[in-house]
């Protein structure tokens, strides 16, 4: 039974990686938000499964927190923002999408290379998760670099955060609860700030969803 659950966790981690790739090459903002919500849902299932296997009660709490925040609240907030500001347009990528995809593949190989010696040391559940989590973080990083608009950049940030949490669930038995609560508060405040920002940038300029790169100096 446990072996089956372990394999299931590995499978979920793989699905999470697949969704990271989907985020990386998706052009439409609203679809990106849905992919993010799905990825978060996968994280919720992984965390609860890990909680059930290890008997660590606080993992259920962590899963519940993730569900409320990242599956429901943040996606709803971002969809509202899109509708209010009429932002749903195609994304202007800095690098062509096929090239991005190729770079993403290389990052996955790199991540697995870095993580392998460490993952073997893991006393916790699924040792394959560390490589996948690191790959997820690196792909989020790549997305941050190759996208120039605000919404994809924030989603990249959030996808990276999902990667870190996947690592925390798979490699350790989740972070201590105080820390998770603190992180949740920080993320929520960050999203609220994003909302304020976008509204202001939108009202200040004719072209919405402003870029972070304009006027980028040294």
């Amino acid at each position: 039974m446990n072996a089956l659950a372990l394999q299931f966790i590995d499978l979920l981690a793989a699905v999470s990686l697949l969704l990271a790739f989907a985020l990386l090459i998706q052009r439409r903002f609203s679809a990106m938000i849905d992919f993010y919500a799905t990825q978060s849902l996968v994280l919720v299932i992984t965390t609860s499964l890990a909680g059930w296997m290890t008997g660590q009660r606080h993992l259920y709490l962590s899963a519940a927190l993730t569900f409320v925040l990242k599956v429901v609240l943040i996606p709803v907030l971002m969809h509202t923002l899109l509708r209010r500001l009429h932002l749903d347009s195609t994304v202007d990528t800095v690098v062509k999408l096929p090239t991005t995809l190729l770079m993403g593949l290389l990052l996955v190989i790199f991540a697995f290379g870095v993580a392998r010696p460490i993952a073997q040391l893991s006393t916790a559940l699924a040792s394959g998760t560390l490589g996948i989590a690191l790959a997820g973080v690196l792909i989020g990083f790549l997305m941050m670099i190759t996208r120039s608009r605000a919404i994809p950049q924030v989603l990249a940030f959030l996808a990276m955060e999902n990667g870190v949490f996947l690592a925390a669930t798979g490699v350790t038995h989740g972070m201590p609860m105080v820390v998770e609560l603190g992180i949740a508060v920080d993320v929520l405040i960050g999203i609220l700030i994003l909302g304020v920002f976008l509204s202001h940038l939108h009202s200040a300029a004719p072209s919405p969803g402003a870029t972070a790169r304009e006027g980028d100096g040294a």
Partner: protein, 508 residues
């Protein structure tokens, strides 16, 4: 609980709760005229409690409070004392600054509330980052300070300000996520030794078992933590946010950013380095710091001459000094660590003082452009002198305290890595020349005629009143310089004792 422990707990509560409560109150009344003075009062309570707490720690040893949630030793007490002290002088400077800016109608009432509330919130977050024993809480506090700073940098809602804040948000966000990953790995390493419990992320527990942590995990963890907190510290190549955020934010906050946030980030890196050094038994962590430090100093030196904005010039000088600090602490050992701590103190004092002067120069001339600020010595002699003396101090000339610290760093580097010392010296000479040239033009250049067109309030006064105004306005900067001068001339016995204890924490 005995008397000393409860005194420490009370003082710690003051340090953390005073700014937090003040932040909430100022969120409601921050737009009233009295709010600026309330801001000063809250900062005074915090600074006073922090200094008493520091004295307590020097006398009675490290404080571990509230079931090990908070931990302060001589090192964090040192950074905490300088942080709260500079916050206090910054709040004094902020009174004058906000008076002028509000008289010009730059900030709405809501923006004044945000400004004051976030000012105190940053003070709270920095205090928490320094006193938290839990590495996860340290991360949360650093992220909290970042978010508050983002809000305050974007305060005037102009397009450049919003873009600078956005860049800050994204870059520091990405950086700090690396630090979170590093924290997860740290937890993993600790879990292998002491098992999964809440104590596995407490720094005191980690430090106790640091020689038993797995070297492979710790190598990756330190690399990630270094990149994460290094972004906060403004080390090249993670420095992209720094010059813009410094040029666009309200200047008092820039002073806090430059003098304090960078120092608190460095403190976080030092904590991680202590663990890494224990686990690895090789100087990898130090070498990483020296490498990135050198890169920062070199790039900053090359770019200093090209800066046209006064605050960006100072920001790049901060990058340079963070590089020197990374080198000093990277070298390790008692002497280099002492030099690093001295430099940290000196830089926090002098750079924030320079930002105070810069803020007044910018308000006087109505422009942040260096080419627009001319003939300061003729028009505002007190201001010009504080700017000149601050420049002398930041360039590492005697008799200010940055001279002995830089000198010690270079001479130790010369013994260990002569080639690196040569590169550092060349960079310092270039930086010296660029800054001197720029400041000379501002202070000595042809007097500016159009400056009279946009005088700030308070400049209509004549005679002695004007003189007093000028001295009061320059007081925070001059106080900072005076302390840096004292530290440079002769270290008092108690300060030396304090520094020695802090060195013992870092260098073992």
């Amino acid at each position: 609980m005995n008397a000393t422990a409860s005194t420490a707990l009370f003082l710690l509560a003051c340090v953390l709760l005073a700014p937090l409560i003040a932040a909430v109150i100022l969120g409601f009344i921050g737009d009233r005229p009295g709010a600026r003075l309330f801001n000063v009062a809250a900062s005074t309570v915090t600074a006073g409690a922090a200094l008493l707490l520091a004295a307590h720690i020097i006398k009675h040893g490290p404080v571990l409070a509230l079931s090990e949630a908070f931990h302060l030793d001589a090192l964090s007490a040192l950074v905490l004392a300088i942080t709260t002290f500079v916050t206090l002088t910054t709040s004094l400077h902020s009174v004058d600054y906000m008076h002028t800016e509000c008289a010009r109608g730059r900030f709405s009432r809501a923006q004044q509330r945000i400004y004051h509330a976030m000012f105190q919130f940053i003070a709270f977050a920095l205090g928490l980052a320094l006193s938290a024993n839990n590495m996860g809480i340290l991360w949360v506090a650093m992220e909290g300070a970042t978010l508050a700073t983002v809000l305050i940098v974007s305060l005037d809602r102009s397009r450049p300000a919003l873009q600078a804040a956005w860049k800050f948000f994204v870059l520091c966000g990405v950086g700090i996520l690396q630090a979170l990953f590093g924290t997860v790995l740290l937890y993993m390493a600790a879990e292998r030794v002491i098992g999964a419990d809440e104590g596995a992320l407490l720094w005191t527990h980690l430090a106790a078992i640091r020689t038993r942590l797995d070297p492979q995990i710790i190598t990756l963890a330190f690399a990630l933590l270094f990149v994460g907190y290094g972004t906060k510290m403004g080390l090249v190549p993670f420095h992209g946010w720094l010059p813009d955020a410094h040029a666009e934010g309200p200047t008092p906050v820039t002073a806090v950013l430059s003098g304090l946030l960078l120092g608190v980030a460095l403190h976080a890196i030092l904590r991680c380095k202590i663990l890494a050094d224990g686990a690895l038994q090789t100087p990898v962590a130090g070498q990483l710091m020296i490498g990135f430090g050198l890169l920062s100093v070199l790039l900053a030196a090359l770019l200093l001459a090209r800066q046209q904005d006064l605050r960006k010039l100072l920001a790049w000088s901060s990058v340079e000094h963070m590089g020197i600090l990374a080198i000093a602490f990277g070298l390790g050992g008692a002497a280099a660590t002492l030099a690093g701590l001295m430099h940290l103190l000196g830089h926090a004092l002098v750079k924030s003082g320079l930002y105070f002067s810069a803020a007044q120069a910018v308000q006087w001339s109505g422009t942040g452009q260096i080419s627009g600020i001319r003939g300061l010595l003729g028009a505002r002699p007190t201001l010009a002198w504080s700017l000149l003396l601050g420049t002398i101090a930041i360039l590492g000339l005697p008799p200010f305290s940055l001279f002995p610290s830089e000198f010690m760093t270079i001479s130790i580097l010369l013994q260990r890595m002569p080639w690196a010392a040569a590169a550092l010296l060349v960079a310092l000479v270039i930086a010296f020349a660029s800054i001197t040239l720029q400041v000379r033009n501002m202070t000595l250049g042809e007097a500016q005629v159009e400056a009279a067109a946009s005088p700030g309030p308070g400049h209509h006064r004549v005679g002695p009143l004007k003189r007093i105004d000028a001295i009061v306005g320059a007081a925070p900067a001059l106080v900072h310089l005076a302390i840096a001068l004292l530290l440079g001339l002769a270290l008092p016995a108690w300060a030396e004792n304090w520094l020695r204890q802090a060195v013992a924490v870092v260098a073992g």
